[in-house]
């Protein structure tokens, strides 16, 4: 039994830490920014639940093969080898789902003189955070890709340490084989996020201006949280993968009685890469759980009495 607990902890530690962080945020501040009862909250709960359930299931199936679906022999292998891509793929679907409802208000002969763009209903630091995460992913992916080499199948996922005298040690690395499809999914996630933000910003503001702006503010926050969560979980999996690469150790006999051992040039970074990876992924899960909590515990509203963290203004 204790062994099972250890296996569960090792498989789900980022998710568990993320859940704890989200609950702490929810208790401290989250209750003031709940979505009002309605279709938007229902769709947000569905999107966040599906994202979390899908990702937790894939992680469980990876740790516990008995949970793997009875599909063809090759598909699960490929799916599990590409696990760094799961969060991005799931994030795209979740963000696209949160685009519902996408309605337009009927023109009433009056209009706000504020420009509405995909960035109008979010705070600057939200967009700056997403940009920073994307920049980090691209930088780390390129660095790992440059360090990769083709393996015997010609796939860029090998990393070798040359020990001299025709001795070398190799292992897998997050090379171009993994990062190119991931970067394509990353571009797709950014595109889908901008389109959904645009769909939220585009319709004219309703007569109940404050509530409408507040709702768009909350939806923008949730979309950016889901997208950021996907990006952070992906980045965490890259760091964890690199920590596995850094842990490569090799040894060989030198001469008749000698013995030499070799490690990667970045072996000293292995613990840091692991903890950074787990921490970043935990933050990503915390964002997904935070969205789920803010939408699941909806607030009842009466017309014109909405409360929340929306600024009530549109940033042009």
């Amino acid at each position: 039994m204790p062994d099972l607990v250890v296996v569960i902890w090792l498989s789900f530690r980022s998710i568990i830490i993320g859940l704890v962080l989200a609950i702490a945020w929810w208790l401290a501040r989250g209750r003031t920014s709940r979505l009002p009862t309605g279709l938007t909250a229902a769709v947000t709960v569905t999107a966040a639940s599906l994202a979390l359930a899908g990702h937790i299931y894939l992680n469980a199936a990876f740790g516990f093969p008995v949970l793997q679906p009875p599909l063809s022999e090759h598909l699960p292998l490929w799916v599990f080898e590409m696990r760094a891509l799961w969060a991005l793929a799931i994030g795209i679907l979740a963000v696209a789902l949160v685009a519902i409802p996408s309605g337009a208000h009927t023109p009433r002969g009056h209009a706000s003189l504020t420009r509405r763009t995909p960035f109008s209903f979010g705070r600057r630091w939200w967009f700056a955070s997403v940009t920073t995460i994307v920049g980090t992913i691209v930088t780390v992916s390129v660095l790992a890709g440059v360090a990769s080499e083709p393996d015997e199948e010609g796939l860029w996922r090998n990393y070798t340490v040359d020990a001299g005298s025709s001795i070398s040690f190799g292992t897998r690395i997050y090379g171009w084989y993994y990062s190119v499809p991931a970067l394509m999914l990353l571009a797709a996630l950014i595109a889908v996020t901008i389109v959904v933000l645009w769909l939220i910003a585009r319709p004219s503001l309703s007569a109940n201006l404050d509530d409408d702006v507040r709702m768009r503010h909350l939806r923008t926050r949730n979309i950016l949280a889901i997208a950021s969560g996907a990006l952070l979980i992906h980045l965490g999996s890259i760091f964890t993968s690199l920590s596995n690469t850094a842990s490569l150790r090799g040894g060989a006999a030198i001469g008749e009685n000698g013995w030499g051992s070799w490690t990667t040039p970045f072996a000293a970074m292995q613990p840091a890469l692991l903890f950074i990876g787990l921490g970043i992924a935990a933050l990503g899960y915390a964002l997904w759980f935070g969205v789920l909590l803010s939408a699941a515990f909806m607030r009842r509203t009466s017309p014109g009495t909405g409360t929340g963290t929306g600024t009530g203004t549109v940033r042009s």
Partner: protein, 121 residues
């Protein structure tokens, strides 16, 4: 910062007059971006050409300036209120609203801070 269409005068004239009034009152700051022709036309339920006509008139009067790819902005010389001041005032109004502080109390606090800063200077 709303504009509304009412009455029988041409919509383009109403749009032009109201934007001109907002600039004169300092509600629209110098350099502030205003909505695109398409957005404003869609919101008001009028043809894009109507809004374009109003913008063109304001541009020729020197109230607006349009840059290709940069949208339409209030001309730097048209409004006496700098954009930073208007944005800070909006932020103050929003913060007071969230905190449940009314206009009178907010103004009183602003006057007190203003007076203390003048004393420091």
């Amino acid at each position: 910062m709303m504009i509304s269409l009412a009455g029988s005068s041409p919509a383009a004239d109403q749009i032009r007059d109201q934007i001109r009034g907002l600039i004169a009152a300092g509600t629209l700051a110098a350099g502030e971006r205003i909505p695109s022709v398409r957005q404003l036309a869609k919101d008001l339920g009028v043809a894009p050409g109507t809004v374009a006509k109003a913008y063109k008139a304001l541009e020729s009067e020197g109230h607006l300036r349009t840059h290709t790819g940069g949208g339409t902005r209030v001309s730097a010389t048209a409004s006496a209120t700098p954009l930073a001041v208007v944005e800070a005032a909006r932020a103050l109004a929003a913060t007071s609203g969230r905190a449940g502080v009314d206009l009178e109390e907010t103004t009183r606090v602003l006057r007190a801070i203003w007076a203390s800063q003048e004393k420091d200077d």
